[in-house]
């Protein structure tokens, strides 16, 4: 799966069978954000591939309630939200490998199945303190 035109079919296939609604909550900024426009285009394109995916857009400067509610720290940002907020965020333009990750996250949130081993799931379910995981990545 890639962000190029040839990958569109694969994306569509990946998102065709979503079993539950997923919201992409997109945070942008009007000025000084060169990457916000390409990020928005990808978010809208992904959403166009499934009736189960909806998009909400907020401004990091103006919509302070939502910024606080989703713990958004910079733009462009995408929160992948299912029945409840899962705490999954993407910062930056989700292209290349990041688009694959975004689509996989949407599938995970829709299914509610992390795909992790029973042992991992038990350990993670026992967590009682806040844990913030940041993974630095590149699109290629």
């Amino acid at each position: 799966m890639h962000a190029d035109a040839g990958g569109a079919v694969n994306l569509e296939t990946a998102l065709a069978a979503l079993g539950a609604p997923v919201r992409l909550v997109f945070f942008t900024q009007t000025f000084d954000c060169e990457t916000c426009l390409p990020a928005r285009q990808i978010v809208n394109r992904v959403a166009s591939l499934s009736d189960q995916i909806s998009v909400e857009e907020f401004n990091i400067v103006l919509d302070t309630d939502q910024v606080e509610a989703y713990g958004i720290r910079r733009v462009p940002a995408i929160a992948v939200v299912g029945e409840a907020d899962t705490g999954i965020r993407f910062y930056g333009v989700p292209d290349g490998h990041e688009l694959v990750s975004l689509v996989e996250s949407i599938q995970l949130v829709a299914s509610g199945d992390s795909g992790l081993s029973d042992e991992s799931q038990a350990l993670i379910a026992a967590v009682e303190q806040p844990i913030d995981i940041q993974v630095f990545v590149t699109p290629t």
Binding site: G87, L123, E128, P130, V135, F136, V137
Partner: protein
């Protein structure tokens, strides 16, 4: 992990777009994982190892 626990948030950060964070967290290669601003995990590691290293920050 974020999917399983309401206490866990997980962000993917496009390194090239946030040079300030790359400097702050001394990101010299990807993937690099930073947990609660203090535990660092370099590279892609097997699931069990990743989970135990992330949870080591708890408590």
């Amino acid at each position: 992990m974020a999917l399983i626990s309401p206490h866990i948030t997980a962000s993917a950060v496009a390194a090239v777009e946030y040079p300030d964070l790359v400097r702050q967290y001394r990101v010299t290669g990807v993937p690099k994982t930073v947990v609660n601003d203090r535990v660092e995990i370099l590279g892609a590691v097997p699931e069990a190892s990743f989970v135990s290293q992330v949870l080591a920050v708890d408590g």
